[in-house]
Symmetry: C2
Subunit: 414 residues, 2 copies
Amino acid sequence: MKNAFYAQSGGVTAVINATACGVIETARKHSDKIGTVYAGENGIIGALTENLIDTSLESDADIAALKHTPSGCFGSCRYKMKSLEANKAEYERLIEVFKAHDIGYFFYNGGGDSADTCLKVSQLSKSMGYPIQAIHIPKTVDNDLPVTDNCPGFGSVAKYIAVSTMEASFDVASMCATSTKVFVLEVMGRHAGWIAAAGGMVNSSIPVVILFPEVDFDEKAFMAKVDSNVKEFGYCTIVVSEGTKWPDGRFLAEQGTRDDFGHAQLGGAAPVVANLIKEKFGYKYHWAVADYLQRSARHLASNSDVEHAYALGAAAVEMALEGKNSVMPAIIRTSNNPYTWEIGVGELKDIANVEKMMPEDYISDDGFSITDKCREYLAPLIEGENYPPYKNGLPDYVVLKKSKVAQKLPTFEI
Amino acid sequence: MKNAFYAQSGGVTAVINATACGVIETARKHSDKIGTVYAGENGIIGALTENLIDTSLESDADIAALKHTPSGCFGSCRYKMKSLEANKAEYERLIEVFKAHDIGYFFYNGGGDSADTCLKVSQLSKSMGYPIQAIHIPKTVDNDLPVTDNCPGFGSVAKYIAVSTMEASFDVASMCATSTKVFVLEVMGRHAGWIAAAGGMVNSSIPVVILFPEVDFDEKAFMAKVDSNVKEFGYCTIVVSEGTKWPDGRFLAEQGTRDDFGHAQLGGAAPVVANLIKEKFGYKYHWAVADYLQRSARHLASNSDVEHAYALGAAAVEMALEGKNSVMPAIIRTSNNPYTWEIGVGELKDIANVEKMMPEDYISDDGFSITDKCREYLAPLIEGENYPPYKNGLPDYVVLKKSKVAQKLPTFEI
């Protein structure tokens, strides 16, 4: 009976811990077939440095509370393993650590990079004579993994952005006669406009202009659209992706501004857009940058997102016990209305390093809003509320004990 | 039997419509003593320009839904009436409009300015031989009105900032080993640090440094504090009020930065603080500016805030029917633990143009956090959740019909 290793990778989300909960609770149900679940402290770095957390020392109640706790409960990391050719020693070290702790299952919870790592570990472990079943579990607010209909983490960000866009628009609508006429909300998404698209989920009576990274910024057309909204509705709300670019490829956020010492000025795309409008029309504006608030907002998680996240963690363990290897459990949408879904399975070779962009027919012809097809896709992903318990006015999120496993190997520098 | 006039003033909040709901529902209960409740379209401007909304044409269900709808349902405005000496004609016009529509009760829902307007209307109307009972109803996210223990709107912003600070801190804590070590959240509050103080409501295991407008920015002490937090906890969260100032009185947000054309660079205090830390220590940072999201976030309203807001609206009508004039219903805290409160009454002469600042003993000696006394004050204000109903994944907020009353007077230019 082998032990398991679970690690969180890359930017954390409101629901990645729900996946951890699914993994650990399901493994506990199969304690006759699977040993201890170890977790990597700070993701894959925990495996490389042999800093393993013994999840068996966490209470059932604390593990259950992960389902309503945002962030990465074991720590995550931004650490991309190099190619096998460039740093085979790292992969070998991983497998040595797994061997030392009798680990036969590797659950890696992340985006495209971690799918690639998973695949390589599986391949190399076989050639090293210590075969490991490597299962990738999808997670990314960017929603850019192939095969799966959507990625856990995205639905909750989308709900947060849709609700925030709606609420701020209500605010501006009630003040625009004498005050702010333009509100700009900057959202995440450096390569793909999935998150920005969520701003288009508000009722069509709210004038929202979206700037996608997929669409070169057409200043003239944008200005005309904003102005016509202000004239028709009295105000305009703009949702700008941090990845929106000028036609020459520069990010809007990097407009070449300098501080008094000549240093490149930090920016965001939102103040740049707001300033352009002010210079052109003189409209009073406000802007917000949601940044981490959007991806950590477990208080406003989408229920379908929480259910997907948990189910994928549970399915990963089931697949491992069925002997599957180099795969990823995926969300398969079976119907839009009523929304139904099931768990499917994807091969890591089809997933590693493939980026799923927004389909062209999800963006309106003018490039400033989403199509009905996109709305149909997004609607079930923001559906349902899943509130955490509260204590003294604040969410009752759990912090785990994170007891370390005794190390058995020499130290390893990364 | 006289009609009533209700208007919303200044920046809107997550719960000002709950007050409107309290006013209208209570007036409807007393339909034998009070006639139609008219509302000002876009606040007091609606009265000056005789743009009155007939709230009797709104259904009971829609009025009830105001209790869970953020923003100003009749429109608000930033319009400060001048002094009686400077523009007596405006006050006279108000009273002419009230007279033309048989309005005997004036409910003005706002901050310090509107308390002042209320008082003047009451005084002038008496001298003009058409006495109006003017009742001010407190509302401001700034929490800066005297007499009342707290101002509706503030509790919900405070809850939003406390929860967001907690959630973003969980996020950063799980990534700080290899990524972001400093997170900066900019919050509202140009003159008073009440909103920033809410960042200090998170569990003490989270290292939060607060920058208040009341405390001159001490760059050296601040840097030392941030660095010591990063060294001890691995990360540091900073909550900075938009009103934080350098010792010479300039706002942090106005650091004199220029764009390539020499224009003053738009900023926020958050990117300025983040940049200072980056230059000094090289720590990776992220920053967010919550802006309107914080004051419109009805999805995360504090239950006590919603209850206060409704109760004050209801009490205003009761006071009017008891013959009171030039007063403001106020929240009187009768016990901290368990939290109990009742409605009291303040005289407008004690309220108009008086600003309640944070008591000195609410800010810690080092100037970077709040004291236990402050926590005791804030705790009940963020207590309880009061969720709006949802439809298709989004809050089901109401938009009123806003039917206009036929005008009877010549137009009036403001």
